[in-house]
Symmetry: C2
Subunit: 386 residues, 2 copies
């Protein structure tokens, strides 16, 4: 239906064909014209015409000849020019920011981390991030003008229209900052904003443990609790951008918000684990490590918090019935014993117990997801300029 | 991208164009060739070629001339032949079944209701439904061979591959019946199965109160509780077909299943309302009617059940952040006072309070949704035969 709904005629067809060839090149590495014909189902003259268009736009290069020709004379190989520009992903958290630069297929060029806790206010934080971005661009050997898309992730509810975050109590001064003004003026490209846990689920589906899953829920389990949800392979943001805010689930008729935190995160977050562990353990990390070593007190604390977590997570699973739940965030360092306890407590509470997995991306999930969001934006707009 | 992924060449293009013209005809009533050119963006020769193909397949008719020609000689009007066949929707519940027959654009031809409570076992129920289907076909003046799609809805988890329902405790003998064998042999067309609450949300989005909503949750509130969910305009079934089973949300650490019923439906279902109303009211309907008349005891009961309902619904809303929640089922007869109490109790429990609405389709929602499912199936397959 697409060709009719977007108009028709040879011009539209040419752009669609060029876009199909471009996608094949972006996802398949250097290829011969014959390979592109196979992958797109287009004829040789059509592929050739598309390549002319793409070369004029600067997206491809004739990248040398095949090293092991199958028959006849060596064929010319065509490549997407991944180095024609770069992408910038920024994950801003209460303790640190991660700035990531990649080429136009998402291959890493530079990564910079800066502490954020001491920034104090929003303006200082912006200065700090802008410095880190310049530093990362230097490292990557790139300039601001070469950036094709920027995505900024952080806790809070993203407001993409106004390029800002609402309700981000964990980062003082961050909420309501107009990021297109503050950071966007550095660049000539689109500036995207997205909730950091939403970015984590994009990252897990891109290169983590969820690459096969259609409906997947990523649960960030740290001091705070939140979920990123993909349904049918697409990010589900909710009408107000607040989908997955499970930290505010109330199991016990407690006040809705205390110190910016919801009822569920107050009873299962890192601080609660620390309290459950008792005086023997300095923090939640110590409790989790001791449980992994078989310490009975620590194991009892982990079992109790898993029971509570299962109670709050079960409603979300009954609503969504996902293929996979990925557990990330600091508490996920509890590893297999934590996962096993969670699975045991979830089974009696769900009709179809989901597959559980630990995140494999660690604290880079948010920044990687920001790069994935840039790639999605790029893919949606690349063909527009043809 | 579709033209390349499905192959290419003039044959594929001809079918795509014919499909676009068919969609324009199905949704737009009788039209001139010029109208079809406007709506599809196709040229006159292409539209004419498509019409020839569609006429040969029996899908369209030249339906007479325009009554008020704009200029020149009157133009021929082309119509989709909605009467070329019919669709069959069946909603099977513990108390009654509704059989609905429509033409190929969903306009009603016949509707038959039969009581099901006395059927006793699965085989008797099938006989009863088959009789009702024959009766409805007679009423519509149609034969079994003219049915283009059948959809059967009921409580339980639909298993579309095996054309049966799992876990349907409210209808004795119904679960695991192979419906393609038992009912399907009456027809030469596809037999679809779908959870009845999933069908209700399809119906609300088709011709109820949710026609504008992208993400919408239909909550069936009767003796049992369940939700049908659409995300981005598509039904979300979940990996095991169990999405929306919120009747099993457990707020109070109670046994997961008692008499086939989940924890949440036990505390807010129709029976619970009846108990909350006390001895003065014979059943939940009487409590709801008295509350509408301002009776203080009944109002207190409605407020209490609304508070409980909000407590169980809030986690679902925090997960999905839907545009709209439609309340259906018998309890929805509580009307505006019930909705107001629900809204009041939900606000402090959600970050983005959703818009609430009462279902406008009554107990016909399931059967209407079954017709909508038939239409979706028809639309996906109509062009295959060209």
């Amino acid at each position: 239906m697409s060709i009719t709904s977007r108009g028709s005629g040879p011009h539209v067809l040419r752009r669609l064909n060029a876009s199909a060839v471009l996608t094949a090149l972006r996802t398949g590495g250097p290829q011969r014209v014959a390979d592109l014909m196979d992958r797109t189902g287009l004829t040789r003259p059509t592929v050739t015409q598309a390549l002319t268009l793409l070369e004029k736009a600067g997206w491809i290069s004739q990248s040398g000849v095949e090293t092991t020709p199958r028959k006849g004379r060596p064929a010319q190989l065509v490549s997407f020019r991944a180095s024609a520009g770069c992408l910038l992903g920024v994950d801003v958290g209460p303790h640190k920011a991660i700035v990531m630069i990649t080429d136009l297929v998402g291959a890493g060029l530079a990564e910079v981390r800066v502490p954020t806790a001491a920034a104090g206010d929003g303006r200082a934080l912006i200065t700090l991030i802008a410095d880190a971005v310049r530093h990362a661009l230097d490292q990557a050997g790139r300039t601001q003008d070469e950036v094709y898309a920027v995505c900024i992730g952080s806790p809070g509810i993203a407001d993409p229209e106004n390029r800002t975050f609402r309700l981000a109590p964990s980062i003082p001064g961050w909420a309501e900052l107009p990021l297109d003004v503050e950071l966007g003026r550095m660049f000539r490209c689109p500036v995207l904003v997205e909730n950091d846990v939403n970015l984590s689920v994009l990252a897990e589906r891109w290169q983590g443990v969820a690459t096969e899953a259609g409906t997947v829920m990523f649960v960030h389990w740290g001091s705070r609790i939140g979920a990123g949800i993909m349904v049918g392979g697409r990010l589900h943001r909710g009408v107000g951008g607040a989908a997955g805010e499970i930290g505010f689930i109330d199991l016990d008729e407690t006040p809705p918000v205390v110190g910016g935190m919801g009822p569920f995160e107050r009873v299962v977050g890192a601080d609660a684990i620390s309290r459950l562990g008792g005086d023997r353990f300095p923090d939640s990390g110590a409790v989790l490590r001791a449980a992994a070593d078989g310490d009975p007190d620590a194991l009892a604390a982990v079992d109790e918090v898993a029971a509570r977590f299962a109670r709050g997570l079960a409603p979300a699973l009954l609503v969504l019935d996902p293929e996979l739940v990925v557990i990330g965030g600091g508490v996920s360092r509890g590893g297999p014993p934590l996962l096993a306890a969670l699975d045991r407590h979830l089974r009696p509470r769900t009709l179809v117990p989901p597959r559980l997995a630990l995140s494999a991306l660690g604290d880079r999930a948010g920044a990687l997801g920001a790069i994935r969001a840039c790639l999605d934006n790029l893919e949606a707009t690349l063909a527009d300029g043809l």
